[in-house]
Amino acid sequence: MADTMELRDIEVWDGNMAAAQALRQVQVDVVAAYPITPSTPVVENYANFLANGYIDGEFVMVESEHAAMSGCIGASAAGGRVATATSAQGYALMVETLYQASGMRLPIILNVINRALASPLNVNGDHSDMYLGRDSGWIQFDAYNPQQAYDLNFVAFKVAEDHDVRLPVMVHQDGFMTSHTAQGVKTLSDEVAFNFVGEFQPMNDMLDLDHPVTHGVQTEEDWHFEHKARQHNDLMTKVFPKIQAAFDAYEALTGRKYNIVECYDMDDAEVAVVCMGTSVETAVEVAKEQRAKGIKAGVVGIRVIRPWPFEQIAQAFQGCKAIAALDRSSPNGAPGMLYNELAGTLYNAATRAVLTGYVYGLGGRDLTKSLLNQIYADLVANAAAGKPTTALQQLIGVRGPKLEFL
């Protein structure tokens, strides 16, 4: 039996420690992992817990991220609680297995410490890896700080392992900006944390020796579409009610409230910024400063990236006149993921807000308050004109001649 760790009500943890502690507290049965910056400390912290008697599950240090997820898939299909962590290049190496994990409906939890994708090589936080997995059939949560990285892990296990869901979940946090930034994190006791998630309930488990199962079959044109359709249907219809229920239960337990789409000062907002990760907190601060100047500024943070919260987004922008979509990943020849998703969501919605896009913060470049002030100035002009006054896409915070397109 693993030892209980006595935690203070508030611990000073960075995002990596917050995630590692959550994995310890839910008593993961198998962690198969491979270290990569900036997610390495998740694995190191976990190894330390193991070395000091706080873990009685298996910890398998494999030889690559592809093997990490492969081992997680084998372990999860065998029938138990499974989690791992990765970033960027490791995530890219895992991509094949991400689809296999979700296609087999295995409730694996993957902490993704977001980092830019090479080339050029970069270890810092942007959302390239997060975007890479958006069609992989996983549920994706985004944490904006260490507290949320901690909390969302518990929600992730609860949702993923629900027999009506049985889908893997990624919990994203920004590399370094969240993963290596220590903040006060309100903790749960080991017992309370574990009980929130509960004992793992196996389903279609290979280790049920009296009920042999076959996982990972071949389907061609006569069956493949139906299986993919089933998975898509479940993502579209079954996941949000379970996430909402888990958020509600977590709020009842901790007082901390999470929403599928996080709205800040949006009730009467006329101009709004939409972003993810640590940028949300910066944007919220700037919006408050804009409000002090009489501008009805708001911020929307995407909490659940997949499934995409179509209805909640449409709801969030009622009354809004100008919206800026902030993408922290190079779209490489397109308008940008958030821009495209928002455009698709709002096209038939009641709102007729002007939508413009910004590409920012690649490779960990700071999103400064002055950049956000400029965005709000653009939005105010767009709202007044009732049409874009800038290019639809601007790259901001990059050196050299101004880059704008469309």
């Binding site: 599950g57 690559s64 492969s70 898939i73 996982h215």
Partner: protein, 317 residues
């Protein structure tokens, strides 16, 4: 560990209840299923199985049918080893935590073709062996990517015509010598490494049972004569297999604890390599005058390897 299945002779073995089923989609005369049957029938223990993408996988789990009577998983081409290692780790964890549904210890077995083993899955396999999982990895070695239509792998021997190393006007086909997987796996310090052939069923069963009794990762290289890609008639699978073992092209031996080598089969009459080559369409072009030197080199290579194996055995290293 549960009791080892007692198999004194073939009649006794034939009372086994197969856990691999017919109406799979493997070619008529495929040696893969003969090997799988011999491996699975070597034990009455519970089994947890995995397979790499390849002939065995695409022919035995085509929705809505499975040919497996034990739990089985396929993830991808390269990771059958890690898939079963993950399942083995979960068994260990649940056993420690007292959460196993049945208090039985299954055997964990992964199957992969030579493409999955020698090539694309090599790193995954090496990782599993370094970590020492309690698992058996069986390579169904037919020396070619048969599932995708006969491309060369790093197990394809010199002179074989494969679709990506075809024999042609200016080429005799595959140029590289076959990778020595047994030596590589033994070098991991694995408790048991062996080469087997389905035609030598008794040798096979003994080795599989030794493997199941070992503590740690076990590598079995199973020669799998491929009627489709080696180009011989389906009914000749066992005859070709006999030629392979009796010509010593596929010598049968085992390596214990990474070092001690034992030869387990010595043919009464050694068949010339030329006869083995002549029986297969993939070597047909070697019998042109300009390539006959290759047949001579083949024989020399086989003789040298046999000599080496005998010296290793004698020296007990």
């Amino acid at each position: 560990m549960s009791e080892m299945k007692n198999i004194k002779n073939l009649k006794e073995f034939s009372t086994s209840a197969d856990r691999f089923e017919g109406a799979n989609l493997l070619c008529p005369g495929c040696a893969h299923s003969i090997i799988v049957r011999e491996v699975l029938n070597a034990t009455n223990d519970d089994l947890i199985l995995s397979a790499a993408t390849g002939c065995l996988e695409v022919c035995t789990a085509v929705y809505p049918y499975t040919s497996w009577d034990a739990s089985w998983i396929h993830i991808g081409f390269e990771n059958a080893s890690t898939a079963i290692a993950g399942a083995e780790a979960m068994h260990k964890a649940l056993k420690r935590k007292g959460r196993l549904k049945q208090e039985r210890d299954p055997k964990f077995v992964a199957f992969g073709g030579d493409g999955a083993t020698y090539d694309i899955g090599f790193q995954w396999l090496s990782g599993c062996f370094e970590r020492g999982h309690n698992m058996m990895y069986v390579c169904l070695d037919n020396e070619v990517y048969a599932n995708t239509g006969g491309q060369r792998s790093s197990s394809t021997p010199i002179g074989a015509s494969a679709t990506t190393s075809p024999a042609g006007r200016v080429s005799y086909g595959e140029k590289m010598n076959k990778k020595d997987m047994l030596a590589i796996m033994a070098a991991h310090g694995a408790p048991y490494v062996a080469q087997v052939a389905p035609n030598k069923w008794k040798d096979m069963i003994k080795k599989i049972q030794t493997g199941f009794a070992a503590n740690g990762p076990v590598y079995i290289n199973a020669m799998s004569a491929c009627t489709t890609e080696w180009k011989f008639l389906p009914e000749d699978t066992i005859a070709i297999s006999d030629m392979a073992t009796d010509s010593l092209v596929f010598p049968l031996y085992e390596i214990i604890d990474g070092t001690k080598l034992n030869i387990t089969y010595r043919p009464k009459t050694v068949v010339p390599v030329e006869e083995y080559l002549a029986a297969q369409g993939r070597f047909k072009h070697l019998f042109k005058d300009e390539y006959k030197y290759l047949i001579k080199e083949w024989q020399e290579r086989v003789d040298a390897k046999w000599d080496y194996l005998q010296r290793r055995e004698e020296a007990s290293v």
